[in-house]
Amino acid sequence: MDNFAILYENLLKFQWQDIVMILLGCLLIFLAIKKEMEPSLLLPMGLGTILVNIPGSTALVGPIQELYNAGIANELFPLLLFIGIGAMIDFGPLLTNPKLMLFGAAAQFGIFFTLCMARMFFPEIDAASIAIIGAADGPTSIAVANTLGSQYVGAITVAAYSYMALVPIIQPPVIKALTTKKERMIRMPYEQKSVSKTTRIMFPIIITVVASAIVPDATALIGFLMFGNLIRECGVLNSLSDTAQNVLANLITIFLGISVSFNMVADKFLKVDTLLIMGLGLIAFIVDTAGGVLFAKLINVFSKKKINPMIGAAGISAFPMSGRIVHKMGLAEDPQNHLLMHSIGVNVSGQIASVIAGGIILSMFGG
C-alpha cells in the first residue's frame, strides 16, 4: 500500500500556483505556434515553464539550473546571440545616411521615461531592469536585468519578447495618433550610394571603439554585436557568417529560452509586480515609438527637406519588424511611397542605440 502511495504522492504536492504557471507555459507555447509570436524563444520558454513548475521536478535543480548558470548568470548566451544578430544586420542603409542614427537615439526615450515611472514602485535596480524592456531588444534586456541582479529577470524577459512580437499591433495606432495623413504621405526618395567594402569593414571596428569608450559597460554587448557584423562584412568568412546567422543564433535561442524559464517558478513570477512590469513594458514600447515620431516631427520644423515622421518609430530596435511596419504603413497611405531603406536604416541605428542605452543603465545603476 505504501508503495502504491508513491504513485500519487507527488500529485498531492501540486498547488494552485503550479497549475497557473503550467497553464502560462501552455499559453506561451500556444502563442508561439498559433500566433507565431517570437516562436523560437516563447516555445522553449513555455516548455521550460512547465518543466520547472512540476513539484519535485528534476529539471529545475538540474539541467535548467546548470544551463542558467552556464549561460545566463554570466551573460554568455545573450552575448553569443549578439554575434548572430550582428551577422544578420546589413548596416548599408545606415552608412549611406548616417544622420539616421539620431532617430535611433530618439526612440530610446521610452527606456528613460519608464525608468522614472518604475522608480515610483520598485527599488532602483529593478526599476532600471524594467526600463530596459524599452530597448525592444531581448538579449540586452536579459543581460542588463541579470547583471544588475534583478529578481524579475523572468517577467522582464517575457515582457520584452512578448512586446517585440506585438510590435505590429502596438506601433501603428501610436504612429497614426501622432501623425496626420499628409505627414504619413511624405515621400522620401532613396539615393542609392555605393558603400565601399573598406567602410563596411571599418564600421564595426569604429563603432566598437567609440561606443565602448563612451560607455565602457556596453563594451561586451556592442563588441559581440559588431564582431558578428565584422564576420559578415569581411568577405573571407562567409561560412562563419552563415553559421553565426543560422546555426549559432538558433542554438543559443533554444538554450536561452529554456534556461530563462529557471526564473519562471510560481513564487518568483506570480506576483502583482509581474502585472506591473508587463504594464510598464507596454508603456516603454509606446513611449519609444512616440519619442521617435515626435523627434522626426521636430526635425521637420527646422528642415527644408521633409522627413516622413513614421520612420522615427523604427528606431525602437525590434529588428526588422519595426522597419517593415513603417514601410507597410507608408505603402498603405501611398502605394508609391517606399520607405523601407530609410526605416531599416533607422531600425539598425536603434539596435546600436539600445545597446548603448543598456550600457548607460548598467553604468548608472551597476555596482
Binding site: K99, M101, L102, G104, P123, Y190, Q192, D273
Partner: protein
C-alpha cells in the same frame, strides 16, 4: 508587494533628472558615432578618388541611358528602368546575395 519598497524610492523629480541625463548621453553617443561614420566615409571616398590616373578618355559614341540610382554604372539597352530593377532583384534573389553586393554592368534586350 511594491508598496513595501516605497521608502526605498527616490522622488519622481530626481528619477527624472537621472533619466534625462541618461537620455542625453545616448544622444551624445549617437551624435558622436554619426560624425565619426561621416568622417570615415568621407576619408575613404576621398582616398579612393585620389589615385585615379588623369588620362584623357577616348571619345565615344553617346552612352546608352543609365538606370536611376545606379551611380551611372549600369547601362540599359532598350530596357525600361522598371524592368531592369525587377531583373536585378530577381538575380540577387536567385543568387541569395544582397543586391548591393552585386555589380551589374549592362542590361540588354535580346530580340530575335
Amino acid at each position: 508587494m511594491f508598496f513595501n519598497t516605497l521608502s526605498d524610492t527616490i522622488g519622481f523629480g530626481e528619477a527624472g533628472i537621472t533619466a534625462a541625463l541618461g537620455y542625453a548621453v545616448v544622444f551624445f553617443g549617437l551624435i558622436l558615432l554619426m560624425f565619426v561614420v561621416v568622417l570615415v566615409g568621407k576619408s575613404f571616398t576621398a582616398s579612393a578618388k585620389k589615385p585615379a590616373p588623369v588620362t584623357e578618355a577616348p571619345k565615344e559614341t553617346p552612352a546608352p541611358a543609365t538606370a536611376p540610382g545606379s551611380a551611372g554604372q549600369l547601362k540599359l539597352h532598350n530596357v525600361e528602368p522598371k524592368t531592369a530593377a525587377m531583373l536585378m532583384a530577381i538575380v540577387a534573389n536567385k543568387m541569395n546575395k544582397p543586391i548591393n553586393e552585386l555589380r551589374f554592368i549592362s542590361i540588354k534586350e535580346v530580340t530575335e
